[in-house]
Amino acid sequence: MTNRPLRGSVPPPGDEQTPKGSGPAATSARAPGTALSAAAGTAVRGGGAGPVPVKSRQAGAARPGSGVGSGVSRGAGRGLGRGPGRGAGVGRKSPLARGGWTPWLYLAPALVVLGGLLVYPVYQLGLISFLEYTQAQVSGGEPTTFQGFGNYATLFKDEQFWQVLLATVVFAAACVVSTLALGCALAVLLTRVRAVPRLALMLAALGAWATPAVTGSTVWLLLFDPDFGPVNRVLGLGDHSWTYGRYSAFALVLLEVVWCSFPFVMVTVYAGIRAVPTEVLEAASLDGASQWRIWRSVLAPMLRPILVVVTIQSVIWDFKVFTQIYVMTNGGGIAGQNLVLNVYAYQKAFASSQYGLGSAIGVVMLLMLLAVTLVYLRLLRRQGEEL
């Protein structure tokens, strides 16, 4: 978003009453417009998103304000396509535009922390990945030598790396799909039941969500323990070991990951569904739309921004699963059969002191997640999201 149109329309100081007065008027004038454009596909955000924060927020009055705010700046962002009514709306930004150094002052702590503990380590990670960096270099016994792409070459020639990479992608994809399917289905279920079952499911899900990854892993291991676990007894599997086989071990970890990550999806999607104005749904059912049709043509488009967010979050979390694999398969399974990239990098770096190689794996992960991010940004932009 450029700041030019905003700056340009800053009224003189004495004028502040005017834009303030015109604020509510502009609101009511634009409100139907937003509602209309909501029906028109991409702008669904404007209509669908407006009421979301209102539901149970103290700042109940926020709705018109934020609705207009985003509407206006979106208009400004698109450049010159400003209707007659919009000029006044832009003027409302007046006290905000004159920040001077203030925003940077507010940002300073965040930037310092992020610069020192995120950007700099990323740079270091890249650097180390180009070095010969093992225990000898760490202790200062040998000088560090520049390797160029040596670590990467070693990595890409290693068959195990490709296996681990494939396992990571497949495992993460399976986790994401299961988590999303379960989370969305249960969110819909939550809207169909009365208070008591809803509370029960909500509390159970919060419990699963709250469970730390380490304890969740140990509990699931106990549940599926070949000797003392209840699951094998119930299923009559005798002393079948779940962690022995590669796929059953992955399946066990998947169950745990889904168990502790579907609540986020469920709660978020449920909050999103609840925020859809009931009038819209009533109108749809009055018009004779079936339940499925309502979900597909009304809810799904309105929930799309939320679905995008939970999908991306799930991708990021599941791609980086570390604790569950580490604890449940005891550091990557028998002969490393259950390694994922994260654990692999850790093992290379800290268990066998090949810090350069470990960093190279880290860089590969970083690049892959960066690609996901770019997709996300494109999706946001296509939705006409205002940053």
């Binding site: 905003l6 270091q124 169909r192 419990g207 000797d227 980086k320």
Partner: protein, 274 residues
């Protein structure tokens, strides 16, 4: 909706709730079971002789109280500091228009995606150079940094939802910028801060990788996840001890969640919007 359908939906909701809650139930149950009942080939979903042996073992054999306190210090510091920093930053990017604003926002988004775990290696050396290895600082600092981008991104929605007219009115009434920030905006955004803090609390409380990598020799600085795994030997785990430790570790998070539950649900809806 027709009656039988709703009934079916409610029954299945209750069943699913039971299944989802079962691992937690089993954890607490096993923590109270006597050793003989845990390690029995006929596990029963109840116990007739609950006792505190496992808890005694956990607290006796290990300085579990101390680790608990360490974990709490790390998590609370991370939550408070990152909430304050994120609040300021979110205010800056939503209430002001300035150069590079959009660039910064995109940077925050990208920063969220950085695999924290991959940074363990450089952070290890950085902490060593700062002399922070084996201290709680080595856990607090990275967690503040890693919870910031998500917190800022989430808080944006909350800060934006406060009407600008309110800000103008405050200035017209003669409030300074700082006064508006702390006495008007902060209380209004507080529910959002709570929802956000859930995430930073969890990531700090659950942290296993940093604790494992940075607290290498000084066990007095250890946190709960590491202490728990002492009982978890791959070949012969002390299940009673592990479950008792797990229970101790899970309860604070559960309490925290139940306390903020309502704000979490509404908060997520609001944050996701933007």
């Amino acid at each position: 909706m027709r009656r039988p359908w709703r009934l079916a939906a409610e029954v299945s909701a209750l069943l699913i709730a039971a299944v989802v809650a079962f691992p937690l139930y089993w954890m607490v149950l096993s923590a109270f079971k006597p050793a003989g009942e845990i390690e029995s080939s006929e596990p029963r979903p109840w116990t007739l002789s609950p006792n505190l042996d496992s808890f005694r073992r956990v607290f006796g054999q290990q300085e579990f109280g101390r680790y608990f306190l360490n974990s709490l210090v790390v998590a609370v510091t991370v939550v408070v500091v990152s909430a304050l920093i994120a609040f300021l930053a979110a205010t800056a990017v939503t209430r002001f228009r300035f150069r590079f604003r959009t660039t910064l926002l995109i940077m925050f988004l990208v920063a969220q995606m950085v695999p924290v775990e991959a940074l363990t290696i450089p952070l290890f050396f950085q902490m060593r150079d700062f002399g922070q290895l084996n201290t709680l600082g080595s856990l607090i600092l990275p967690h503040i940094a890693f919870s910031l981008p998500f917190a800022i991104w989430m808080l944006r929605g909350f800060v934006k939802a406060v009407p600008e007219a309110l800000e103008e009115a405050a200035y017209i009434d003669g409030a300074s910028r700082r006064r508006f920030l702390w006495q008007i905006l902060f209380p209004l955004v507080f529910p959002g801060l709570v929802a956000t803090s859930v995430f930073s609390f969890i990531s700090a409380w659950n942290d296993f990788l940093f604790a494992k990598s940075f607290i290498i020799s000084d066990t007095s600085q250890s946190t709960l996840p590491m202490a728990l795994l002492v009982f978890f030997k791959p070949d012969e785990p002390d299940w009673g001890g592990v479950m008792a430790g797990s229970t101790v570790m899970t309860i604070p998070v559960l309490i925290f969640f139940v306390l903020v539950q309502r704000r979490l649900v509404s908060g997520l809806g609001g944050a996701v919007k933007d």
